[in-house]
């Protein structure tokens, strides 16, 4: 009896300790977000005179946000450019990757295995290595500081997406595709009416990966664009921080704007994102 009690007692203590550590981790994880959100709702005046940066905003103000978007700091353009860039890359990458993956998974043609090997081996080349040559190539083509300069390198499909889609397409029963063919469907119809509907989960995963990767991308937009015309959110945030160093109420409003859309997206599709990461190892 006594030992049962002791075991139960030990389990309760263990659970309590687990929750304590998990909660501490949660505070450390979320703290910076909440604190920067709070700071973004303070007036510069309160921020300057406050006794502690942990203090609550009083009065609450959205003036930092309206300032960002009112044109003075020009955050409307970066937001629009970022959305455009992500949308174009997302559609282009999914489309081109699906086409290529179908060819690799379902068709027999000379050179298939060698070509697939070349696609895969490009995964080993890090972005920082191709950065300088890619920039010089774009500059030669006159695409510096253009929308095409932003999207061209990634819009034609990614080897990683092709790899994942190929694995998935190979699992689609061949009878389904043959049946569609017997009914007279050509390759485009087979793709659109059989393959794509059956691949929704992997397409959703790739959608998440692509949005996260390109919304957050910084280095390529930083070097290929100059000035405000084609500035994306990450570059605009970095520039704002550099220009108004110390104006933290404004800067934290900018970081909140840069991060909020993805955090909201994540809250909506939390389960799917978690599964996507474990499934793919994302960027790696």
């Amino acid at each position: 009896m006594n030992s049962v009690k002791r075991v139960a007692g030990r389990r309760i203590a263990g659970n309590a300790a687990t929750y304590l550590v998990l909660a501490a981790g949660a505070v450390v994880t979320v703290g910076p977000y909440l604190l920067s959100l709070l700071t973004s709702m303070k007036t510069p005046r309160q921020f300057g005179s406050q006794t502690s940066p942990l203090a609550f905003p009083s009065p609450f103000t959205l003036s930092n946000y309206s300032g960002l978007f009112s044109g003075e700091y020009g955050f409307v353009t970066p937001l629009v450019v970022t959305v455009q860039m992500v949308a174009v890359i997302l559609v282009g990458q999914l489309l081109c990757s699906v086409l290529a993956a179908y060819a690799f998974a379902r068709l027999r043609f000379p050179g298939r295995d060698a070509l697939f090997w070349v696609y895969l081996s490009t995964l080993m080349v890090p972005q920082i290595v191709t950065l300088v040559p890619l920039y010089t190539m774009m500059a030669q083509a006159g695409l510096r500081n253009t929308f095409w300069g932003l999207v061209l390198p990634t819009v034609f499909g990614s080897p990683y997406a092709i790899f994942l889609l190929r694995e998935y397409f190979r699992g689609i029963p061949g009878e389904l595709i043959d049946a569609a063919r017997v009914d007279g469907a050509g390759t485009p119809r087979v793709l659109w009416h059989v393959v794509v509907p059956m691949s929704r989960p992997i397409l959703a995963t790739l959608t998440i990966i692509t949005i996260v990767t390109h919304w957050n991308n910084f280095l390529w937009p930083l070097i290929i664009t100059t000035g405000p015309t084609w500035q994306v959110l990450t570059v605009a945030t970095a520039n704002l921080q550099g220009q108004y160093n110390g104006n933290w109420t404004l800067v934290t409003a900018a970081t909140t704007v840069a991060m909020a859309p993805l955090v909201l997206l994540f809250l909506l599709f939390q389960r799917h994102v978690v599964r996507s990461i474990s499934l793919t190892g994302m960027k790696s």
């Binding site: 659970n15 929750y19 550590v21 981790g25 949660a26 450390v28 994880t29 979320v30 910076p32 977000y33 920067s36 700071t39 940066p53 081109c96 086409l99 290529a100 179908y102 060819a103 068709l107 027999r108 043609f109 298939r112 070509l115 070349v118 696609y119 080993m124 080349v125 890090p126 920082i128 290595v129 191709t130 300088v132 010089t136 190539m137 500059a139 034609f156 499909g157 080897p159 092709i162 390759t187 996260v212 957050n216 910084f218 070097i223 990450t234 945030t237 970095a238 921080q241 934290t252 970081t255 840069a258 991060m259 993805l262 955090v263 994102v273 978690v274 990461i277 474990s278 190892g281 790696s284």
Partner: protein, 292 residues
């Protein structure tokens, strides 16, 4: 005859489907590897015509102390980040794997930093670390110049990197833990093995593939760190956080020495390939040894 025609048709269809990705991958992933090799043998400032200089860029970067420094800083950064994030990630995974009510909530919460732009997080942390207006000094009640002190800058940046990746790392360990067959734990329990022994002799060996994946991908990505450093320190103070990616950026787009930047990129590629091969060999030997 028919089958030959069918096969030709299939080939034509396949290459039609492959055209966009062949253009994209050929032009933007394969060609740059050759261009970077070519560029590394030339001297170019983006304005005047480039000239062939042979291996001079490589000789220059080998003897440049700033280059040596950037490799050392990157190695140090990696040495700070990888062990800590791996151990913390495993710890978090073990706690989450107890599957107490609410575990899914914590699991989701912990990966929020990972989906946010490293640049934006770097800016947020630059504020958190600010000596006068920052949160950290307000909490500890001392005025510490985290990011402008030569000794603290790199550990501070490394800490932010760890902070943003622990949840992500723990997801993989969690997946690895759920793949450990339950009957092994059962057997250990019947044999009276303590929790610590069970962990060392069952859990850890069985997590080896996961650990390998975490280490390889972690090291490769930490050798390329850029955004966080750019936002927090821009490589300073006095080069103490000047990681390789920052240095390449500086050479190419601030000092306009594209040949040298290309040579550095090639050197980084060589190092990364060597790291990957070494890890492969080491782990393969360990794993076969375990089995045999």
């Amino acid at each position: 005859m028919i089958s030959l025609r069918v096969r030709r048709r299939e080939t034509a269809v396949a290459y039609t489907l492959l055209t966009p990705s062949l253009v994209g991958i050929g032009l933007f992933l394969v060609l740059p590897v050759f261009v970077v090799l070519w560029l590394s043998l030339r001297q170019w400032d983006l304005v005047s015509p480039s000239t062939f200089v042979g291996l001079r860029n490589y000789r220059d970067i080998l003897s440049d102390p700033a280059v040596g420094n950037s490799f050392a800083v990157t190695a140090l950064f990696t040495a700070m980040v990888i062990p800590v994030q791996t151990v913390l990630g495993l710890g978090v995974a073990l706690l989450l794997n107890r599957r107490l009510p609410g575990s899914a909530f914590f699991r989701a919460l912990y990966i929020v930093p990972w989906i946010c732009a490293p640049l934006a997080l770097g800016v947020v942390w630059k504020w958190m670390f600010d000596p006068t207006d920052g949160v950290l000094n307000a909490i500890i009640g001392h005025r510490i110049t985290w990011l402008s002190s030569e000794n603290l800058a790199l550990p501070s940046v490394a800490a932010v990197s760890v902070w943003s990746q622990v949840g992500y790392v723990s997801l993989f360990f969690l997946a690895g833990l759920s793949a450990v067959p339950g009957h092994l734990y059962e057997a250990a329990r019947i044999d009276g093995a303590s929790a610590v022994r069970t962990f060392w002799h069952i859990t850890l060996p069985l997590l080896r593939p996961t650990t390998f994946f975490i280490l390889v991908t972690g090291i490769i990505s930490s050798f390329q760190v850029f955004d966080t450093v750019y936002a927090m320190t821009s490589g300073g103070p006095a080069g103490h956080t000047d990681v390789i990616a920052s240095h390449i950026y500086q050479e190419a787009f601030v000092d306009f020495r594209l040949g040298r930047a290309a040579a550095l990129a090639v050197a980084l590629l060589v190092v990364l390939v060597m790291v990957t091969v070494a890890q492969q060999l080491w782990f393969r030997r360990r794993i076969t040894y375990e089995l045999g």
